[in-house]
Symmetry: C2
Subunit: 403 residues, 2 copies
């Protein structure tokens, strides 16, 4: 080679590096953006966060000069532990929490701690695309398990566990979003949660509970966390401030058995979580303002959900089925089997409507092409009405609706 | 097993998980804290950061409701690219930068992208403990290369590369902190940088340049970045706002060839970097206030360095050698070969003085027991004088000084 020829990294990448890394997602958004999960942008508590930060820095800003604790700021961990006790019936203490970037980094930490290529992970039959992307990056053998509107079907779960064990591959964990499931919208009932714990205990399998939507409940009573139903330490639990404050805060948390947390902390990249954002969130939350904000946000989001359900009734009544979520940010739309909602996305985008086709959430990447996830968090109720109407028009034109 | 027996993760951990994860570092600090690298805590620009955040959120706070760009906020990337052009003679654009948590996450991203167990990485003979910890976690074969006060010795570097290649293990990269090296304090000369690039090009080896101290120069003229001396794309470059604003901001950056960046982005955990801290830093930096702050901090830190050098002359003159850094945060103290500075740490801590023994920075974990890194960033000049005096007293009592 000559000295100035271009260097090639091709032979340098590690075995575990993704072979064909995805390009950075192009940030193109439709006006009627039902595609990605945002909280309501008009009720973000921006002034309160700046005020909270100002007082925190006045009190202990010198601490910014010091590297943050590897598990994150103890007072915020203490707040999280109390909140999980109060809201989720979980008994965890300040040392049982690791703060990290959103819920995404905690999931990454668990996967990096536990997964080797080919390891079996069981999930709901459609599941959060971020989880799928990470599971694929760690080359897990991802197996979707059938659900109904009460959550994972115990018989199907047991069959999947038994089959994997029969292949000599005890599942590394069962991943579930039991509350306001993303993308399906249902909430797993207490009975189903108990059945899941019983199966996990009997088969000695771990569980990863992703509870990042739980604070956004519009109807009905809370269902206890799966973590609270198990006393063996097999349930790992992830939560986040992304949906209650803002995704841009990048603050979430992981709890679970100490044995797991020690390894998860060791594989966490980036050191202790952002102390600047942490101080703002801690003062904001500990003052009680976060609870008030959640109440307000729930009122706003409930109206948006209702607007979407009403608009679907108006425009899709009889021609499709959809979920009626008691909380969270998503409605799951199911069209007749032959409908191609993957193909219709482009035409929808031209009509300024964005959505995610069902196959994005499928472990096999293919199933669910006649389904779509519609997020109602970002647009106003009026916009939601307009957007759903436009979607129906596009689907009619494309031969998807009433074909 | 009974249903309530404790779950064990032991058989669940992945091959790559650390076998014996370190406990969370106990945060016990001496009053005279020369152990860990902090910037000056009294000149943190707290009010300016809060103001910058307030105006940024007033202008585009709704954007917090959206997930940040995977490479980070484009205007801050643009600022970083311009700064690297202005200060480091580097030609990089907005798409060549990935913002991440401190400099620690960029290092992690590079290592996760490139390292398999047993891969050879060459470093300076003593080097940043965070890098060593990560390299060990990825089970690299870490080989220290001899240095003098002008940096890595070209002959020693060439010999190390040749030896590794002779074993069939082309080094994955050469890791260097060429400016105000941590812990050694020297700055690699331009001639040595050119020699390093020439060797890397001739042997077709990549380079990872960690330049996180470069803004803290107290004397002399800047030396161009190694990245600026290579036109083949083999130099990866990491920088940070931790030393110029605050470690608690957790903001740093990675640049390098696109091929490398695409993989590094794919292995980054936690999504796009914290947008809340990013907005504050961007407005603060783009307004010119960061440059003013660096000027002020450099003035303060220069006095601290001078205080430490003077105190060492007073208390250690003739009995030890130490570096005279033109910037950065560290003085490297070298006592006679038989001195046990590992053993003396406890007695020093009882006298309320903290330091890091040299072996922490050694690839083999053993060499350098007669050496120590003294950070002068945190304490006032008066405290530095007192602390160094106490250290000399302790070393005398322990038989380390003038034994």
């Amino acid at each position: 080679m000559t000295e100035t020829s271009r260097f090639s990294y091709r032979d340098l990448f590690s075995e575990s590096a993704p072979k064909d890394p995805p390009r950075a997602a192009a940030v193109v958004r439709a006006k009627y953006d039902f595609a990605v999960a945002y909280p309501d942008p008009d009720s973000l508590p921006l002034d309160d966060l700046v005020d909270s930060l100002g007082s925190a820095l006045a009190e202990e800003g010198r601490g910014l000069a010091v590297y943050p604790h590897q598990q994150g700021y103890p007072p915020l961990r203490d707040y999280v532990a109390s909140k999980l006790g109060r809201d989720r019936e979980m008994r965890v203490g300040v040392d049982d929490i690791i703060l990290a970037d959103g819920s995404s980094q905690p999931l990454h930490m668990v996967m990096e701690s536990l997964l080797d290529p080919g390891d079996v992970v069981l999930t709901e039959e459609f599941v959060y695309v971020g989880t799928l992307t990470m599971l694929r990056r760690f080359r897990a053998d991802i197996r979707g398990v059938e659900c109904d509107e009460a959550g994972l079907l115990p018989d199907a779960l047991e069959a999947a566990v038994t089959r994997a064990k029969g292949e000599g591959k005890r599942p590394k964990f069962i991943y579930t979003i039991p509350t306001f499931q993303n993308p399906l919208g249902w909430t797993m009932t207490l009975e189903r949660r108990e059945a899941l714990v019983e199966i996990a205990q009997r088969h000695d399998v771990a569980v990863l509970e992703d509870d990042c939507y739980v604070d956004l409940r519009y109807d009905g009573e809370p269902v206890p966390a799966i973590h609270s139903l198990d006393d063996t330490g097999r349930v790992m639990y992830v939560g986040s401030f992304s949906k209650t404050i803002a995704p841009g805060m990048r603050l979430g948390y992981l709890t679970g058995a100490r044995e797991l947390l020690e390894t998860a902390r060791a594989v966490k990249s980036g050191g202790g979580v952002n102390q600047f954002a942490t101080l703002a969130v801690h003062r904001y939350a500990a003052s009680g303002k976060l609870d008030e904000h959640i109440d307000e946000a729930v009122g706003i989001l409930r109206k948006k959900r209702d607007a979407m359900l009403a608009a679907l009734g108006e425009s899709f009544g009889g021609a499709a089925k959809w979920s009626r979520p008691a909380g969270g940010l998503y409605v799951w739309l199911e069209m007749p089997g032959e409908a191609d909602l993957v193909g219709a996305r482009e035409a929808a985008f031209e009509a300024d409507v964005g959505y995610s086709a069902g196959n994005s959430f499928a472990p096999d990447g293919v199933s669910g092409g006649n389904m779509a996830r519609l997020c109602f968090g970002y647009n106003t109720p009026e916009e939601i009405h307009e957007g759903v109407g436009r979607l129906a028009d596009v689907f009619s034109r494309e031969g998807v609706l009433g074909a």
